[in-house]
Symmetry: C2
Subunit: 136 residues, 2 copies
């Protein structure tokens, strides 16, 4: 079966949120599309940036929050662009399909601060790409 997945944003891991926001403003002409959120569940500090034009790429800049953040582990591997996020109507169904396709679940659905409490989940594709799902 085919899911109706809508690309939502590209996640970029950075060591310093403010420095990265500043760079995206100055080089790409992006602006902040959200406030800065602290998400203790994800152990991440995040901010969405982009042009704000409909349909344009939205980048979620993600910095570690605390010592044992998964984002910190990404950065220690030298990984900057680290996830692509898609929105989906039924997140459990999407994860079932992902598993059937050989994906590896990283984290089951939990509410996320940056999405107003909408649930997010994480998995790796068989080709090792990190995918985030957010329920619509």
């Amino acid at each position: 079966m085919l899911l109706d997945l809508t690309f939502d944003h590209l996640g970029v891991a950075v060591p310093d949120l403010d420095r990265a926001v500043s760079f995206y403003e100055q080089f790409f002409g992006y602006r902040m599309l959200s406030e800065r959120f602290d998400d203790p569940t994800q152990r991440a500090r995040v901010c969405f940036v982009g042009t704000g034009r409909p349909g344009d790429l939205v980048i979620e800049i993600v910095a570690p929050l605390g010592e044992d953040s998964p984002v910190g582990k990404m950065l220690s591997k030298g990984t900057a662009a680290y996830h692509a996020c898609y929105s989906v109507a039924d997140i459990e169904q999407a994860l079932d399909v992902a598993r059937a396709q050989g994906c590896v679940l990283v984290a089951p659905p939990v509410p996320a601060v940056a999405f107003g409490g909408r649930r997010i989940a994480w998995f790796y594709t068989p080709t090792r790409q990190l995918i985030e799902l957010v329920e619509q």
Copy 2:
């Protein structure tokens, strides 16, 4: 100064091009938007996939071509989503601005098979994101 950068595609490194194309078709409902290209300059085998709907995300799936491919080095670090590509009118000017912003040039402009000979260049941002530029 601000450049007029247009987001073009997201590059995803994979060990096996055909297996990845098949996964993107089956899970995301994507289709091939190009043929498979071998680019000896980039030492990469690439294919563009997506929904084909205007404005939707285009993913460039990139597999190593040969033993000493830069894509192979990315994969050995566990990096899958590895570059974001923007198109720009004047690629030399954009690189000048990038350098002035503290970016590190990885590769100067060279013609690229996957873009019909249009030139591409690579740099790292100060926050370690790998960016590709393609001239319009």
